[in-house]
């Protein structure tokens, strides 16, 4: 979730670390009324929403060079993939990441949870603390925005 939200491996690591520490500290306050995953997602979403990017230019630490993660979101390709196919796939992934990056935080969260994590509007509404009609509105606006950004690339055959 954190990686999909930030699109940055280093930022996702920082958010994950914050989330686990918060879960550890708040474990006693977890009430059985909500599912654990909902509670965990709520903490993750709040941490993502409060997370401020430190800088636009990614700075690789020595640690991250020793144990590198993918630079941006990209679906795994087949082992026999040709270099030009890899380039095309990576470019496509980067365009999608940039388009997602332009979405306002709550729209991005709702879209990621629905499209990538497979959550229902009802589940997302519990995590974000708003009703399902508001989630439907967020999803509608997110898709309109993505369409606006990505459609020109589709028409040019780049996507």
């Amino acid at each position: 979730m954190a990686y999909r939200y930030t699109g940055s491996y280093a930022d996702a690591e920082e958010i994950s670390q914050d989330v686990f520490l918060k879960v550890y500290k708040k474990a006693a306050s977890f009430r059985q009324e909500a599912r654990f995953t909902t509670w965990l997602y709520r903490i993750t979403v709040n941490t993502c929403l409060n997370f401020k990017r430190r800088q636009k230019i990614p700075v690789e630490s020595l640690d991250s060079l020793q144990e590198p993660g993918p630079g941006f979101m990209e679906p795994a390709g087949p082992a026999s993939e040709k270099p030009e196919e890899i380039f095309r796939r990576r470019k496509k992934a980067e365009l999608i990441r940039q388009a997602l990056d332009q979405l306002p935080p709550k729209q991005r969260i709702a879209f990621i949870m629905s499209k990538f994590e497979g959550y229902s509007y009802d589940d997302i509404s519990k995590v974000l603390g708003i009703n399902t009609n508001a989630i439907a509105a967020l999803m509608h606006r997110a898709k309109e925005q993505l369409k606006k950004v990505l459609q020109p690339y589709r028409l040019k055959g780049e996507l």
């Binding site: 520490l21 795994a76 990538f116 509007y121 999803m139 509608h140 898709k143 459609q151």
Partner: protein, 149 residues
């Protein structure tokens, strides 16, 4: 249903999140409106392009970073007060028991024949009083047997 309302519902329809009462009305509109149908199809095909990104495994250094920051992450503090006391006591007792068994019992197990010899010798000594017993008697036969005759 008019096009303006239908367009607001396309996203919900594609996510299969349409309330049952609206679904029928929306589908009826879609069947009769080529413009809305085209818009729904365009959005559907665009969303197909936005693939699910690859799963990313958390690096091992993240585990260590989290562990380092956990407050009071000291295993001995998590144990009840008596455990740190009893554990060395039990360990010492186990050591003494092992030493006792090693010194006293293991030699007997390893060399059982010599032990038997000791017992037989003592039996001989105890039975010496029967040395004068007639050879045909039970005591005489036994002392001959033990004596190896």
């Amino acid at each position: 249903m008019d096009c303006q309302k239908a367009k607001l519902l396309i996203s919900r329809f594609l996510d299969r999140e349409m309330p049952a009462d609206l679904l029928r009305v929306f589908e009826d509109h879609l069947a009769s409106c080529p413009q809305c149908r085209q818009e729904a199809e365009e959005l559907r095909s665009l969303l197909e392009v936005i693939e699910k990104p690859a799963e990313v495994a958390a690096p091992s250094r993240l585990y260590h970073r989290i562990r380092e920051q956990l407050p009071d992450f000291d295993r001995t503090r998590a144990l009840p007060w008596w455990k740190p006391v009893l554990i060395p006591v039990f360990a010492t007792a186990a050591f003494i028991l092992t030493a006792f068994v090693s010194i006293n019992l293991i030699p007997r197990i390893i060399a059982p024949s010599s032990n038997r010899q000791v017992q037989v010798t003592s039996a001989n000594m105890d039975l010496s009083v029967f040395n004068d017993a007639p050879q045909s008697s039970l005591a005489g036969a036994y002392t001959r047997l033990v004596g190896g005759e």
